[in-house]
């Protein structure tokens, strides 16, 4: 490895502009004649639109247009779709209701957009939006997923009887029931996975330009996957054909999944720019709009049963989950509680029989979709809370119960699709137990007791699946897209390198890690490498960044393209040096012939490729190669987290005293960035477990629509994490990478909840473990 190659802690190249305030986000872009959009949003969770009176708004200063849903659909703009088809267990396709970017007949959640004002200034647009008078017939609302399935519940969409979108299953039910029936011990657990607001630091924003002369659109937007956005905007929403629409996702300040999806606002800004006859329309979300309209995460209610034989080996696992998908089906909402969830229910364990039934339900709430971890945190929460509960009920050490059931031979086929390719779960468990001084816990608990505090310890041995793939497999499971990645390596005549990638960085540090691959391969400094991403005019196509896929899939595509560049460069060098191609070595910026003193500078070979003066017979000039990489399998990061807490029984306040993370991410390119990802993930996971909760009242009003009521984790709430990694290489990709972006958020909630339920000796406590809930749990 060179100083900046694979494994080096290279400082983040992008941080110079971010830390100095020089990042250029969507809202920083301005064009001449740009106007502003303000949305008229429903204050009701469920209502019929009887009429819209725009007259007052239209006559207000600066107002260019007031537009509604009937005009939008009248212009042929299509409904928003969910891109993953799930079939119910009876074989019927999922029951997807219509979602128009501006509501036409009904509004179905508070914040649902019913009209838009286009005006010369943002304040004029907002003032006029308040003056749009919508006559609503308020309808009964339902926010609870179980109640929504009940008799007499308000019905959201005519397509979905009893609000059920699908009733899906995985695994074999009869053998699982039989295994449970024959068990020496059955452990039951009812748990909820709390609904979350995603809260990226940068709110969503869209700037839509329309060039009338060329009939061409450009959309700057806060997207994690601009190519998918263009595809969907073109193919499904009929905004413009792909060759007439350029989508640019410039600097994006965090996403956590919420910026994967195509939202009504981007569609409306594009359509309204042309319809209102203005050069450009910009919309930037306010924070409360973000709480109301950014796709929420999680919101599962689960009943689980696990059987054990007399030797404490798991015999079977049965899980029933109801998942709340909100008022409409967001882009990948259907896949989250199915193939991203139930396929991970085997955890790190040998379980011969698993059956899971999932019902997804419409309610009068914000649409729910993938949020950091997407299905895998929910699965890990079920499995790891169950293992801890079982250990308590069986009276065995939680670490030893896990160890006794670990998968130890690979590949391992689970009963729920996944084939684990590599791992060493005991190694992570041992590392975490050592780092946390697991053996010394009893003394620490006794010390806490002497201070009037309740101390608890809990662990979580998580496994997750990253780099969702291969395309053919996900296609057979209902995905509407492929899940490969593309890369193009452009070597310039002077030897500097541009990497064009279909991945998109919105905080992950791609501009650093991706350049390290080039430095590692050719020995050029990372400062001589530029990463190009986020622009459909520059990068031909790509699938974007989510699901921890940019390492295992995105970087593998780069590696494939680098292979091609290296092969051609060696041919050119061999010709120039009159040597055998097999003897050419490229390192430290030099191209040498092994065993001789013959050499060329890397830049000389690159220049040679472009002058074309001395190339092998028949070779095309230039040094530029592209690759598409489609993985053969998911990757399976895994690890063990151990959390220790102290509770103040008088107030219910919980201190996280210690948090240990021992992860196996396979090959690591930049350990500093990986550590940062783990830190952020753990903070988010503890946020879910002890603080964050999107709460609706019975009428469907979001009670947590600002930071006055929605608690985010702050640095002072958390201890310094003790993190470490071990390495089993993923056999499925060239570098052996697994992915690290979500593990922290996946593994930490059950570790925390296992610790706090241990501290207070009450296993019914639900996330988030707020002081009030903890106090109530202690005081019965």
């Amino acid at each position: 490895m060179g100083m900046e190659g694979i494994g080096a802690k290279v400082l983040r190249k992008e941080d110079k502009r971010f830390i100095t305030g020089k990042g250029k986000y969507t809202d920083d872009h301005k064009v001449a004649g740009m106007q502003y959009a303000a949305f008229v949003r429903s204050p009701h969770a469920h209502a019929r639109i009887k009429g819209i009176d725009k007259s007052a708004a239209e006559s207000m200063p600066g107002v260019t247009a007031v537009l509604d849903g009937k005009q939008l659909t009248g212009d042929g703009i299509g409904n928003i779709i969910c891109g993953w088809m799930i079939h119910s267990k009876d074989g019927s396709p999922m029951n997807m209701g219509a979602w128009s970017a501006l509501a036409t007949e009904h509004v179905r959640y508070v914040g649902d957009a019913a009209a838009v004002v286009i005006a010369e200034s943002q304040s004029e647009a907002k003032a006029a939006a308040e003056a749009v008078s919508i006559d609503y017939e308020v309808l009964p609302a339902v926010v609870d997923a179980v109640k929504a399935m009940g008799d007499g519940a308000p019905q959201l969409h005519p397509e979905a009887a009893n609000n059920i979108i699908y009733d899906w299953e995985i695994g074999d039910e009869a053998p699982t029931d039989a295994a449970l029936a024959g068990s020496a011990k059955i452990v039951e657990l009812d748990i909820t996975n709390n609904r979350l607001s995603p809260n990226p630091m940068e709110p969503r924003s869209a700037l839509a330009l329309y060039d009338e002369a060329e009939d061409h659109y450009t959309l700057y937007t806060t997207s994690q996957n601009p190519h998918v956005a263009r595809l969907v905007l073109s193919a499904f929403y009929q905004v413009a054909p792909e060759h007439k629409l350029r989508v640019i996702a410039p600097d994006v300040g965090g996403g956590f999944g919420s910026k994967i999806y195509i939202y009504p606002e981007e569609i409306v800004c594009l359509w309204a720019a042309k319809r209102a006859g203005v050069p450009a329309v910009k919309w930037t979300s306010e924070r409360t709009e973000a709480f109301l309209t950014d796709a929420h995460g999680r919101d599962h209610i689960t009943k689980a049963k696990m059987g054990f034989d007399a030797n404490n080996k798991i015999t079977g696992f049965k899980v029933e989950t109801v998942a709340n998908l909100g008022a409409y089906m967001s882009l990948f909402s259907s896949s989250v509680p199915t193939y991203l969830y139930a396929t991970l229910l085997s955890g790190q364990y040998n379980i011969a029989n698993i059956h899971c039934n999932v019902k997804t339900v419409y309610t009068n709430t914000t649409p729910v979709d993938a949020y950091r971890g997407a299905g895998r945190p929910e699965a890990t929460y079920v499995v790891e809370r169950m293992m801890e509960t079982a250990a308590r009920e069986l009276g065995v050490d939680p670490a030893e119960l896990r160890r006794a059931n670990f998968v130890t031979e690979f590949p391992h086929q689970t009963p729920v699709i996944m084939a684990y390719d590599a791992g060493d779960y005991s190694a992570s468990l041992d590392a975490a137990m050592a780092a946390s001084d697991y053996a010394g816990f009893a003394a620490r608990r006794a010390d806490a007791e002497s201070r009037g505090k309740l101390r608890g310890i809990g662990m979580s041995c998580y496994i997750e699946a990253c780099g969702i793939a291969p395309s053919a497999a996900v296609g057979s499971l209902g995905a509407g897209v492929g899940l490969w990645e593309s890369a193009e390596v452009r070597v310039n005549p002077v030897g500097t390198v541009e990497i064009l990638t279909g991945s998109h960085s919105h905080g992950q540090g791609h501009e650093t890690t991706f350049t390290q691959l080039v430095s590692d391969r050719f020995g050029v400094p990372t400062d001589n490498v530029q990463i190009v991403h986020g622009d459909t005019d520059k990068v031909q196509f790509g699938m974007g960044t989510y699901g921890s896929r940019s390492g295992a899939v995105g970087m593998s595509a780069i590696v494939k393209a680098l292979d091609k560049v290296e092969a051609k460069a060696k041919k050119i060098a061999a010709h120039m040096l009159e040597a055998d191609e097999g003897d050419i070595v490229i390192e430290n910026g030099e191209v040498t012939v092994a065993g001789t003193d013959k050499k060329l500078g890397w830049h000389e070979v690159c220049l040679g490729a472009y002058t074309g003066h001395n190339l092998p017979d028949g070779m095309e000039p230039g040094l530029k190669e592209g690759a598409f990489y489609d993985p053969t399998n998911f990757t399976f990061p895994a690890g063990c987290y151990i959390c220790e807490v102290e509770v103040d029984p008088e107030t219910g306040v919980t201190d996280v005293i210690q948090f240990v993370a021992a992860d196996d991410f396979g090959k690591i390119i930049n350990p500093m960035i990986v550590e940062g990802q783990v830190h952020g993930g753990i903070a988010q996971g503890i946020g879910q477990a002890m603080m964050e909760h999107a709460i609706y009242d019975d009428e469907g009003q979001l009670l947590t629509a600002s930071y006055m009521d929605y608690q985010m984790p702050r640095a002072g709430d958390l201890p310094s994490f003790k993190v470490s990694t071990s390495e089993t290489l993923c056999p499925g990709n060239p570098l052996g990478m697994k992915g690290c972006g979500e593990a922290g958020a996946i593994g930490s909630p059950p570790a925390f909840m296992n610790a706090i339920t241990d501290a207070i000796s009450n296993n019914t406590l639900a996330m988030p473990a707020t002081p009030q809930r903890v106090w109530a749990a202690i005081n019965g």
Binding site: A127, E650, T651, L703, T704, M708, Q711
Partner: protein, 265 residues
């Protein structure tokens, strides 16, 4: 954002006169609540009359045990006043827990008690210190001043000029912050002086800040944390919301009171 006419008053009289001639005026004394309210389009005053630049209402003076704090003294100034700390450190500690550094350098004592947010910190101290609130029209005792949620005894156009009190022998403030907003969910200020014991409670009451007379009586007879432990806190008068129901808030009032007495020594 809507537009309002901004006035920078240089005297209390000028401020009152400006208020008298505007259609829908608001005094602004730091704006840490008012500006966000306007930005959310929940208030649209015609005129904003800034009181923060009136020299006469700024500063802290201590004469013996008599403390006077000008209404436009910032929380940061209260928190860092050595003079005040020498006689009533509890009030410095309270001010140091308000909001964050930016809020503390803009927000003022007068602004806080004029707004009378039920979760603000100062009202508990004003009640427990038996403070006198002086305006451009009169002096009001704290017990008469705080009327209810966001309600005070102030008349339209009346300007708070200063707050004064006798420093107690012992005092402390203990706050349980709302986990999300960090406003007080229960903040208890206890003060013991020759005149007796007073206990001011903020954040928890459904009718705003209040004195807890049961605790005052118990502590008058026995100044110890144990004395508070047996006093009932009526859940019927407690706020209840997603962060804490009435039973939890009642518990917090008691726990914060115990800790405040212990901290006061």
């Amino acid at each position: 954002m809507t537009s309002a006419k901004y006035h920078r008053a240089s005297s209390v009289d000028e401020a009152a006169s400006l208020a008298g001639s505007a259609s829908d005026p608001k005094y602004i004394a730091g704006g840490q609540t008012l500006i966000p309210t306007i930005k959310q389009r929940l208030a649209e005053p015609s005129d904003l009359i800034d009181l923060r630049h009136i020299g006469a209402t700024k500063g802290i003076s201590v004469s013996g045990s008599q403390v006077t704090i000008g209404a436009t003294t910032t929380h940061a100034e209260v928190a860092s006043s050595a003079e005040l700390r020498a006689v009533c450190a509890a009030l410095c500690d309270l001010a140091s827990q308000i909001g964050d550094p930016a809020v503390r350098h803009m927000g003022t004592l007068g602004g806080s008690i004029a707004n009378n947010d039920p979760a603000a910190d100062y009202p508990a101290a004003m009640l427990a210190l038996d403070a006198q609130i002086t305006t451009n029209q009169r002096t009001i005792s704290a017990s008469d001043y705080f009327v209810g949620l966001f309600e005070t005894a102030l008349n339209d156009g009346e300007v708070i000029t200063e707050v004064s009190f006798n420093a107690p022998d012992k005092a402390a403030y203990e706050k349980f912050p709302n986990p999300a907003s960090r406003y007080a969910m229960a903040g208890v200020f206890v003060a013991k002086s020759g005149g007796g014991v007073r206990v001011g409670v903020t954040g928890a009451g459904s009718d705003g800040a209040f004195r807890h007379e049961g605790m005052e009586q118990a502590l008058s007879g026995n100044w110890s944390a144990d004395a508070v432990a047996d006093v009932a806190v009526d859940t019927a008068s407690m706020l209840s919301d997603i962060h804490g129901d009435a039973a939890y808030r009642a518990n917090l009032v008691k726990v914060m009171a115990k800790r405040a007495v212990a901290a006061a020594g």
